[in-house]
Amino acid sequence: MIDELPEPTPDLDSQPFWDGLALGELRLQRCRACGALRWPARAICNRCASFDAEWVDCDGAGVVSSWIRTHQVFAPAYRDRVPYVVVRVELVAQGDIRLIGGWHANRDPVVGESVAPRFVRRASGAFVLDWEPDLAPNTARRLRS
């Protein structure tokens, strides 16, 4: 049973991603051979089979592709937290990268709306990636190498 709020559990591949959140960066892996972004990180590119990859800092511009509100208490840690909203966000940088995260706004999300990342430090000290409405969705988007 989960009595405590589940915390991130980085592994060898994902450590740079979780480390980046603490610095306010959304880090993605990019294939050096074909340029495809991939998340979560892994050893090989599933488009061109290259092992050669680098980490890039994505601005995190995203679009809500779906959202849910959980009412049922699936674990004791959530007894006082239900109901809560979780969103699924497609990144503008590459739409087949989708991230799950919490939601920060005093209204429900809308499928298709622009969102920006929100880096949240928990009481435990761990950082997680949540989302909020993007108030300036048309600003230039880029990847930083």
Partner: protein, 324 residues
Amino acid sequence: MVVAQSLGIRDLRFHLDQFGGGSVSHAMVGQVALALHAGVADTIVCYRALNARSGFRMGGTGRPLVDAVETQFQAPYGYFTPPQQFAMEARAHMARYGTKSEHFGQIAVAQREFARDNERAMMRGPMTLDDYLAARFVVEPFRLFDCCLETDGAVALVLTRTERARDLRQVPVLIRGAAWGGGQNLYSNQVSDTTRTAAADMAPRLYSMAGVGPSDFDLAELYDCFTYSVLVQLEDYGFCAKGEGGPFVASGATARGGSIPVNTHGGFLSEGYVHGLNHVAEAVSQLRRTAGARQVPDAELALSTAQPGYVAGSTAALVLRRGA
């Protein structure tokens, strides 16, 4: 192996342990068919047994069923159970195609109507669309009756070669097509449209093997861990166009007396959850025409499917025909 040991079988000629839930049951039957065709064995029992109510509850512990690579990117956000995963998929379909809660409700109500004539069903009481809509939310947009049951149950199928089956007392049911496929999920960065499942890619291959098309089926037993999975499969197996699943179920096509009755035993929503082997067993009953009051008249050809490819990324399905 435990079954073989319990039966005292000393020289087991074929065994196969399939890990996972509802995306593998139909693949297991297909793999058994391969073994029979290859002459590896003459008769094979294919079973699934689980204490999903009294034992490990998939959605009840907050613990992921599988420690997959993506778990670490979901659990910290309180996202770790199948109702959450499928509610997320359902919402995306609603937003894109205008699918409504009432459409999901039609699926639940139609299946309950069949379950009322199924003595094995856990849920046999009457249910109206109002009952469905009045039930509490589990994970929005899903209400209580969008979600399958948790069941202590077991199903065993006995498979043998066609010529041997024709000598037996029961009317044989023939496997005319078996396919499995998919592989990509939301964490492989290969899925561009989440409202289209791996079943859409696999279905043409399955139909080609069997020499049939969607309009040939007399009934379909579609994997229904949640109402939405039925709806998306109606589209992806070609019973209606993409995005038209809602109006299709609202037309009554999948209900008793409709053009393609779906989940004639009540499915996971009303009979019980046995990872889809109970769907195969129901198809066999229908094709043998031993399904009693819920019998689809003159049933000749049935489709039975596994989970269409969400979460794990894999799927499978069978085309079954009443033997001569």
